[in-house]
Symmetry: C2
Subunit: 122 residues, 2 copies
Amino acid sequence: MHALLLIAHGSRREASNDEVRDLAQALKHQTGDEFSIVECAFLELAEPSIPDGVSVCVEKGAESVTVLPYFLSAGRHVVTDIPEELQKAQAKHQQVNIKTAPYLGSAQGIIEILIGLSKQAS
Amino acid sequence: MHALLLIAHGSRREASNDEVRDLAQALKHQTGDEFSIVECAFLELAEPSIPDGVSVCVEKGAESVTVLPYFLSAGRHVVTDIPEELQKAQAKHQQVNIKTAPYLGSAQGIIEILIGLSKQAS
């Protein structure tokens, strides 16, 4: 089974963390057959942590975990912190294939989304 | 003339701020005739500030400024801090029509982008 793990920064404001949890739910409904497990995890300030998020996927039967960084820029979090957390998870679950997708801000389609939003200004 | 002002958080890491500046440039090339001025501004840690970013637009001849929050969640920055900064700008440029677009994380299209990214994992 393949798992998708959406990783966000985490916020002191629980409503922001819930936005991420809702997004993971929405992804679950739309990824179709590709990912039978979709979870989220947080770098800091919210639960589950990244290693715990990977563990949740493994407990649900994941043989591979695709990590999806919900971050806008290739800052320290994306370049250093997330890979470090994933190393911990990989050490714990050596049989699991952990892959990382490009971070959100790197996607070409962001520009089209921003143009669409600009037309909804009020 | 209409201006589009992309607003990001700002980072201590200058490369992250440059990603935002590059994105504003890319937007400039793709918004077509709708916005003859496209600039960016930062809530903190980078220049220009939001009021200064509005001023740049006005100096370039903007009669209206559409603010586009490059943020993933409706946290304090989106709900409180950016509106406060825009009030300062509006007080300084009372003749300018300042409108705010929905923040990036609220866009429906984000899910399709995330699904696309998940297929590029390695």
